[in-house]
């Protein structure tokens, strides 16, 4: 292994992953919003950055042959939030993207960079899990895909192995409705708690809670219940199931107890909004 230095500009994913394999201390650089803030705070001090911004493959958003939307990892939040192809249940993703930070930061941050950092307060994780997305990952040995819900492993920890980078988030489009309900202290803050809900036209529901534990929270039984019954009582039960899986922090954004109180409340509000979206009323 050789140590590389400075900023490197790969033109392809293969070049990027080859360099990352060559120097395990080299870091991939996407939009920079997270990485540079950490450098400014002297949390990290990398000697080599592999700048992904000139890799065309990572910058494109396209609809695959199977109708899924492939969002390149380097797609900025602003583009994702304005992406017209993300319809039906997939609309939860642009709705989450639109609430990230503020307009200027949305010009900089990328979906790949954001989810790779795996800050539990981020807006993408619950949304892409609710949407049933897959994450495509590349390394010097090739590509693999995993479900979004398996990508987030722990606090600030993903399933990425050393030398791996996210290359795309692949979002299925089902006819249906979606909502991303974020509660934060002020606009642009990280979520205190969030609920992402997708309702397919068939009635299948995927409900995911964000910012209430190390990873996005979903529960198969809660989804099953809501898929057959969306009454207030059922939502309360589903909310309790999700809350039981929560492991929220006490921090300046809210106490753990407050986050627990919010889970069923935000779930209900998100579900009703997703229903309205399903009916075309949004």
């Amino acid at each position: 292994m050789t140590a590389l230095a400075g900023m490197l500009w790969p033109r392809t994913v293969d070049e990027a992953t080859a360099w990352l394999a060559e120097d395990p201390d080299a870091r991939p650089l996407a939009g920079g919003a997270t990485l540079v803030a950490m450098m400014n705070a002297r949390v990290i001090d990398p000697h080599c950055l592999v700048n992904l911004s000139r890799i065309d493959e990572l910058r494109s958003v396209r609809v695959d042959g199977d109708g899924r939307v492939r969002i390149g990892a380097f797609t900025r939040h602003r583009e994702t939030s304005e992406c017209l192809a993300l319809t039906g249940t997939a609309a939860v993703v642009p709705r989450a993207a639109a609430q990230i930070a503020n307009a200027t930061v949305r010009n900089m941050g990328t979906i790949g960079g954001s989810i790779s950092f795996a800050d539990p307060g981020l807006d993408y994780p619950p949304a892409i899990v609710a949407a049933g997305a897959e994450i495509e990952i590349a390394s010097s040995s090739g590509r693999r895909r995993i479900a979004a819900k398996d990508f987030f492993v722990d606090w600030y920890t993903t399933a990425l192995a050393p030398g791996e980078i996210v290359t795309a988030v692949i979002v299925p489009r089902q006819p249906g409705g979606a909502a991303y309900e974020k509660h934060a202290r002020v606009a642009g803050d990280y979520a205190t708690a969030a609920a992402a809900v997708c309702i397919e036209a068939s009635g299948r529901v995927h409900a995911v809670i964000g910012a209430c534990g190390p990873t996005p929270i979903s529960d198969a039984d809660a989804d099953a219940l809501l898929s057959s019954d969306r009454s207030d009582a059922a939502v309360a039960k589903a909310g309790a199931m999700l809350e039981a899986r929560a492991d929220p922090l006490d921090d300046v954004r809210g106490s753990a107890e407050y986050r627990r109180l919010l889970i069923p409340r935000l779930l209900l509000r998100a579900l009703r909004r997703a229903e309205a979206d399903l009916r075309g009323a949004t």
């Binding site: 503020n102 509660h183 202290r185 002020v186 606009a187 642009g188 803050d189 990280y190 205190t192 207030d232 309360a236 909310g239 921090d251 300046v252 954004r253 809210g254 106490s255 407050y258 109180l261 919010l262 069923p264 409340r265 935000l266 209900l268 509000r269």
Partner: protein
């Protein structure tokens, strides 16, 4: 006759506007000097510890390091402090809060300086610490200042143990008056530490000449306070230090007293070179100062018809590690806690406790936002108990023209009634919002304009134009513009004929500072006075030039002196100035200097113990209505409407004045709803804009209206009183009252976070179903 450009009353754009919108304004961080060294700080990791020694060898050895200064370079007898001189230039002998400046490094680059700072080793003997003010006052609590009795105090502070100061005011006989009351309400309220969050972090640049005299630029609200603090804490004669100001990126009180200036001056003296040090945002949060947390126990009594009879209030202020402005904040809060009402029997007392946290100090409102939150909330509770509308209750008790303030000071202009009428009408108060979870709340408050000394020098330049020098720092609020308008109007010239000098302790007359909402009023009066002297001298010259008596002369607009009624018989300012410079009398200089002198307390009406200021100021008044919407799912409170009316005597510049009211409202809204400095033990847990949240454009209410009421203050320049702080005082109370109106719930602790409100809604049984 058309008014002159920039006359009093015109919404003139700020004089520095073009420079600022071009991005050419130079703030402290923008100043460069060839060969300047960069400073970096060493901060204390401990809340309370004795400093046994320093090891700076590794730091000094780093290439590019030019000096390291520590408490060993300070003489323990030199201490600064606005009221209690308890503070060294930086930590000396002991550290008293996590983050306190312990040492400083000067090096060729900022990177080297910061690296060297990390190499400084300090040998600490950790001591028990105390962060809660009530705990600090318990017997046996760790003693934060071992020798508080030996400190110089500028008033009878009663400093002892961990009590930094204590104050008590009484009128009438509150103890006996409760029996006259049909309704008595007593509650305890708490308010939190708020960070000023001036967008510009603190910083300083010190240059030293061959004779060892230092010129100090810094982000400041008073070049004179900087001079005094640095000289006191370093033991320098004041002739050795000249203080100047670049453009300042806001203050709100944060930059009124010293921050890094003493350390930077010491580094300059030690290296013999210029040194620049700019705080990071985190350092600014951790090391400088913040708004005092208050605990307020207040009891108010009224008769069944809502007439206020008695008040008892007890305050406990968290003062942090050093006194700073705390005694003043305590005294002022006690003076103002009655609000603009007649309450015949009052006992108001309180203490400031030292704690092992950063010092708390001046912040817009100076204790009044905190105390008003409590008292105006309580008035609404009284209103509910006696069954009277909150505005009607206030009208019934409010001070009317002729009434004095609590303690007996005469009030000579009082536009409060018009303020109340305005906000009642404009907010549609009588038509209550019918929407669910919406409510409206009102608060009345007052603030002073005044305190201490100001001066002005008005000079006529050779060409007849004017140079004004007041020493007052413009922190962005527009004082340069307002004072220029006052000067121009006084001499009846267009405003572009007047230039205003930048504050300079060498050349400017003393101005205590840009604080206490004082510049328009106190410095403005000096400007009027100095301009009047200039007018007198102009007329003396003109009388000789026109061969008439000075009594026959008048100023004409545009810079002329003419015989009354005979416009053609006139001389221009340029002609007069030429004569003065070259022929007779000498260049025209008008001066004025004064100390605010209206006594706060009438000893026949009130008893005061530990009064920090004998003469504080004249009163401006505010009424504010806020409308809120409470989200019953999350508890989040959103302000949807705000109407704030300020009696400011006369609006010298309505654009600047309304800007103050609007800005104050939003800052007050942050105080009410989202801002809180949070300590994790003794360490500040959220010294970052990621974690400490101020209102953004998104939080601005749909409707925010400022109204300027003019009651024409006889003692004010052109009738003006100041407006800088007034608009913040009632905001938290109005919002809390609105939340109570919307939910039926009374919250007595700030900030009113979503969490607090949701818990209240759930306990009430009315939180949205989960």
């Amino acid at each position: 006759m058309t008014a002159l450009a920039g006359a009093v009353g015109q919404p003139l754009a700020q004089l520095e506007g073009d420079e600022k919108v071009a991005g050419r304004a130079l703030y402290i961080a923008d100043l460069h000097r060839a060969g300047v060294l960069h400073g970096a700080l060493v901060q204390s990791p401990h809340a309370h510890a004795r400093i046994r020694g320093y090891d700076v060898a590794a730091a000094r050895a780093l290439p590019g390091v030019r000096a390291v200064v520590t408490g060993a370079d300070l003489d323990p007898k030199h201490r600064m402090g606005a009221f209690v001189k308890d503070e060294p230039a930086f930590a000396q002998g002991k550290v008293r809060y996590v983050g306190e400046i312990v040492a400083a490094v000067a090096a060729d680059t900022e990177v080297i300086a910061r690296a060297a700072a990390r190499l400084v080793r300090v040998d600490y003997e950790v001591l028990p610490s105390v962060v809660d003010p009530a705990a600090a006052l318990e017997p046996g609590a760790p003693l934060i200042h071992d020798n508080a009795a030996s400190y110089i105090k500028v008033f009878d502070a009663g400093t002892q143990g961990n009590v930094c100061s204590r104050t008590e005011f009484r009128t009438g006989d509150a103890d006996a008056a409760w029996s006259q009351c049909d309704v008595v309400v007593e509650n305890t309220y708490t308010t939190q530490a708020q960070a000023h969050l001036s967008l510009e972090p603190c910083g300083a640049l010190a240059e030293i000449d061959a004779a060892g005299r230092v010129t100090l630029w810094s982000a400041n609200q008073s070049v004179f306070r900087v001079q005094a603090s640095v000289c006191e804490s370093l033991g320098l004669p004041m002739t050795k230090l000249r203080c100047l100001t670049p453009r300042v990126g806001a203050g709100f009180g944060n930059k009124m007293e010293a921050h890094v200036q003493p350390a930077v001056v010491l580094l300059a003296m030690k290296t013999g070179r210029s040194v620049k040090l700019i705080l990071s945002r985190e350092e600014d949060f951790e090391t400088v100062r913040a708004r005092h947390p208050f605990r307020i126990r207040v009891k108010t009594g009224a008769t069944a018809d809502g007439t206020l009879v008695a008040r008892e209030i007890e305050l406990l202020l968290d003062g942090g590690a050093y006194g700073d402005d705390s005694p003043g904040v305590l005294g002022y809060a006690l003076l103002m806690q009655c609000g603009p009402y007649r309450i015949p029997h009052v006992l108001a007392h309180g203490r400031v406790a030292y704690t092992n946290k950063l010092r708390f100090g001046a912040f817009r409102g100076f204790g009044v936002p905190q105390v008003t939150f409590a008292t105006e909330s309580q008035l609404d509770e009284i209103a509910a108990r006696v069954g009277i509308d909150p505005i009607a209750l206030r009208r019934k008790n409010m001070l009317v023209p002729g009434d004095p303030w609590f303690g007996g000071q005469a009030i000579r202009s009082n536009g409060l009634a018009e303020c109340v009428d305005t906000v009642e009408r404009e907010s549609g108060w009588k038509e209550r919002p019918k929407a669910m979870r919406r409510g409206r709340g009102v608060a009345l408050s007052a603030h002073i304009s005044g305190l201490l000394a100001s001066g002005a020098i008005v000079r006529m330049l050779e060409d007849g134009s004017i140079l004004l020098n007041t020493g007052a720092v413009d922190i962005g609020q527009g004082s340069n513009t307002v004072l220029t308008q006052i000067c121009a109007e006084s001499l009846k010239v267009p405003v572009d004929q007047v230039a205003i000098a930048s504050p300079d302790t060498d050349g400017s007359p003393y101005n205590w500072g840009t604080t206490a909402s004082r510049v328009t009023y106190v410095a403005g009066r000096s400007v009027v006075g100095a301009a009047a002297e200039v007018e007198k001298m102009l007329k003396e010259h003109a009388g000789e030039m026109l061969e008439c008596s000075v009594d026959d002369l008048e100023l004409l607009p545009g810079g002329r002196v003419a015989i009354k009624g005979v416009e053609e018989r006139a001389v221009t300012f340029a002609q007069i100035s030429g004569r003065a410079h070259w022929a007779a009398g000498g260049p025209i200089i008008g001066t004025h200097s004064w100390v605010f002198d209206q006594k706060t307390f009438d000893p026949k009406r009130a008893v005061a113990l530990g009064l920090p200021f004998a003469a504080i100021g004249i009163f401006s008044f505010n009424a504010v209505v806020a409308e809120v919407e409470v989200d019953e799912v999350t508890g989040k409170v959103r302000v949807v409407g705000a109407w704030s009316a300020c009696d400011i005597g006369r609006a010298i510049n309505p654009l600047m004045a309304s800007g103050q009211v609007e800005g104050a409202f939003v800052q007050g809204m942050g105080f009410a709803l989202t801002e809180e400095m949070v300590w994790d033990g003794a360490r500040l847990a959220n010294p970052s804009l990621m974690d400490y949240k101020i209102p953004t454009f998104a939080e601005l209410p749909e409707t925010l209206r400022a109204y300027l009421i003019e009651s024409d203050e006889p003692s004010g320049p052109f009738g003006a009183k100041s407006v800088g702080e007034l608009g913040i005082n009632g905001v938290a109370a109005a919002i809390a009252n609105a939340v109570a109106d919307a939910t039926g719930l009374r919250f007595r602790d700030l900030p009113l976070t979503g969490e607090r409100v949701l818990r209240g809604l759930i306990a009430q049984g009315s939180g949205a179903a989960a």
